[in-house]
Symmetry: C2
Subunit: 499 residues, 2 copies
């Protein structure tokens, strides 16, 4: 196998030799059996998303530099993943056929934990479990925000705009100070890190001049090899809370009562509003709102009283809380763990993804909508209408940020059924088009649908995407880095984009 | 006068005609008396920073497009200001001699105030006074964060990383969703705004793919013509607080006691630690810490109790507060006004800048240091050592963010004394070099010292600045937009930079 349209078989063979010589024999995977492991684990095998032509696993900054040097020399397309989880969005499947997968799992050091200033510095291979373990060695005096599944990369999840639930759970916003390898092998440090030896490298997001961290997220302008991640000091009291409503029609009230409590800081972190799992009856309410409170005991008392009072406006709503003091909870519900930064995989079982009788594939319809009851209803009805028609299992959660909601609509299908997968992605694309008509954009999408999602951002003849392409060509003239990521193609492959 | 090295006098004359035809006679200023108004009001006239060769004042997006079209045609250097205040950092003085000043003061509409989702949308000409007035028409149910002086542009201050004190006082971080005119006249909208008609344009900072807002701040990649600004809902209770300590040596304790209270959210907004003004005895303590609390009455009660308790560890420290309910205070101290988003100019008198007997010029030594007592002491001693030697008036404030401090060291001098100004800027440069040795970078600097400050960010042979230049050349091939801003020069003028 060799990269289509990129290099001849002979040149590809020469590149494999160079990768092997630079990284070592065991860091380069070429056999078909190994390559099959690097697709989308939640889609039919070899469906839609090509496997990589080759997997290289650099273990250091210098080895990443060697990889881009070899790729430039042979005009190879690379596709970078941190740990390759990217759950529901394609795993480690590549966008461009024949790409060389750069898997950064071997760069797995927690480079620093700073208790005084509440941050950690991680390499791409560090999972949420790894970071949690390291924070444990520091007595869990700092808590990280974790997403629903703990297996992924702390860095990779953040640079893909991943969502956690505790404070700092807007994971891209918790990033401060990057180390990046550019396409030409140059190492840059962003923000205050651009000053040699600055102690503020992971403290201030901005240095002097423009700020780059956002530019290296969800893009293909460089390979991010290290980031600072802000953490929260352990609170005196941690209270994991649930609000349950009986009537599906209470969604609007739930959202509109919650909003001012988030905007005024009564509730911090990212509350989530869930339709019930497991999957029976998911297409109508009732709803459960989960969130957490952090602080001194008397503060939490006051906050919960305010909150109980506010939600009493909904007939039949119940508010419950579980309080914890000191260490984060170990034996607890998924909700209680996730709000305290305790990584886990419980959701896999709760959704039944790995049910041996019916292993499920899935993707996620993930739209940004304004944080109002009316918009929450609109995206809910859009999603439900299509899901009712499919009869397939799924689930919905609305993650509430200050001013917007990320609607996560999970669509599942029998994992090995190619026909079902085709149908689901067809429905997904229809949902995206209907969402665009309402001005709702996807915050993230499956590797196979990046082009069509990028295409929805069409203001002024896709002016922002065209600006992105100019930057791509300036920073990566040979177009080696992750062609197709977020719909960004280098000039030599731009014809592959639909536009 | 015509742009040095850019256009012939004849070509410049032709350009003036085109500007006049596109914008109207009164929007184009060419006479020497008018041009003199567009320098640095706080430096000797015509000193260090050249006046513009011409002032153009577009009143609409289309007129901004006309300006860049004409500039491209004639290879003119533009220098963009919003309202041109940029207090202490050069006013509307330009970096490159002969630049055409693009003054955006006529674009002064508050395009939207959204009470439900707590944001406003402003054009560059909107001052903090203008926005406050507009929020007043909405019953002051939303509060904006304001910097010490209210005359500046809400947009311009934010994109120059300006500092306010209330929540959302990290003003660059309060920006969400930009409209930008690129060098080629293309209008881009960032984030969710890249989707036509998205209602989330000013709600989510990120769209799909890389995030650009940070890239258009403190840079010269585009002319920012509109931004969303996040506001805070009016709190039930607002308490403006002061902590005073007697002993200069208590600075470390002040900082180290404050830090956990900021990191855990007890104190929101940006507290400031001030050496006393007026200027007598400014070179040693005592210190005053100012901050504010916002919330329900009982919450504020709890918070102030916690805070009193914490600062009781400092012998002789006093904690005082002024509580307000409802509308923001009108007749109050500068501190009480500024924490409630009430714009004012009180600081001018407090510092005595416009004392008719001795009008002062000034600049600000503005370094980012880690938020610890030891680093606060180190930057304080660095600043004091030089200030003692000069004998000139000045003052120091340390603005405390979660994990870092912005040290603002004001250095004043007799406004019309060129010798004194020279000496001050020489001392400033020495301070910057000494700060670099400690890893402390400037967050902002005077127009005349942008190159030397940019030069301090030298990691890997100035790799980040060189990356910035590649983007500059890709987006602005003729090098028309604000040459020299933040040390970023277009290729045709790159020789002007020291590096």
């Amino acid at each position: 196998m060799h990269p289509e349209g990129a290099a001849s078989a002979a040149e590809f063979g020469a590149a494999v030799k160079e990768f092997t010589s630079a990284l070592g024999e065991d860091a380069v995977l070429t056999d078909a059996a190994s390559l099959r492991e690097f697709g989308d684990p939640y889609a039919p095998p070899e469906w839609a998303n090509p496997q990589p032509a080759l997997v290289v696993q650099p273990a250091s900054l210098e080895e990443v530099q060697a990889v881009v040097r070899i790729a430039n020399e042979h005009r190879l397309a690379l596709w970078t993943v941190s740990r390759g989880k990217n759950n529901g969005y394609g795993g480690s499947a590549v966008a461009h056929p024949g790409s060389v997968l750069v898997h950064l799992g071997r760069m797995n050091k927690v480079a620093e934990v700073n208790e005084e200033l509440a941050y950690a510095v991680v390499e791409p291979g560090v999972s949420f479990y790894d970071l949690y373990e390291e924070l444990g060695r520091h007595g869990h005096r700092l808590w990280a925000a974790v997403p629903d599944l703990g297996w992924g990369s702390v860095l990779g999840n953040a640079v893909d705009h991943g969502i956690g639930y505790a404070p700092n759970g807007d994971r891209a916003a918790s990033v401060c100070g990057m180390e990046v390898v550019l396409a030409d092998g140059t190492i840059v440090r962003t923000g205050m890190g651009a000053m040699e030896g600055s102690p503020s490298r992971h403290l201030s997001k901005r240095g002097f001049g423009p700020t780059f961290d956002g530019l290296f997220m969800q893009s293909n302008f460089g390979i991010v090899t290290k980031v600072g991640i802000w953490l929260m000091p352990r609170p005196q009291v941690y209270s994991s809370c649930l609000v349950s409503v009986i009537d599906d029609g209470d969604l609007e009230a739930l959202v509109d009562i919650l909003r001012p409590l988030v905007l005024d800081g009564t509730i911090t972190g990212q509350p989530g509003i869930f339709s019930p799992l497991p999957r029976a009856d998911w297409v109508s309410g009732p709803w459960t709102l989960r969130f957490a409170l952090y602080g001194r005991e008397a503060e939490v008392d006051l906050k919960i009283a305010t909150i109980r009072d506010a939600f009493a406006a909904i007939d039949g709503a119940t508010v419950s809380e579980n309080r914890y003091h000191g260490q984060p909870p170990q034996e607890a519900s998924q909700t209680d763990k996730v709000h305290a930064g305790v990584p886990n995989q419980d959701m896999i079982d709760e959704i039944g993804l790995d049910d041996p009788n019916l292993p499920l594939g899935h993707t996620v319809f993930s739209s940004i909508v304004p944080n109002t009851g009316a918009h929450a209803r609109a995206i809910t009805e859009l999603f439900r209408r299509h899901m009712r028609a499919t009869g397939l299992p799924g689930g919905q959660s609305l993650v509430v940020h200050g001013r917007y909601i990320t609607n996560l609509g999970l669509i599942a299908f029998p994992r090995d059924d190619r026909g079902a997968a085709e149908a689901v992605f067809e429905i997904y694309r229809t949902m995206v088009l209907e969402a665009t008509a309402l001005g709702y954009g996807e915050y993230r999408t499956h590797v196979s649908t990046m082009d069509m999602v990028a295409e929805q951002f069409g203001f002024n003849d896709h002016a922002l995407l065209r600006t992105t392409e100019k930057i791509k060509d300036a920073l990566d003239p040979n177009g080696i880095l992750s062609p197709g990521k977020s719909g960004i193609w280098p000039s030599r492959l731009r014809g592959e984009r639909g536009l």
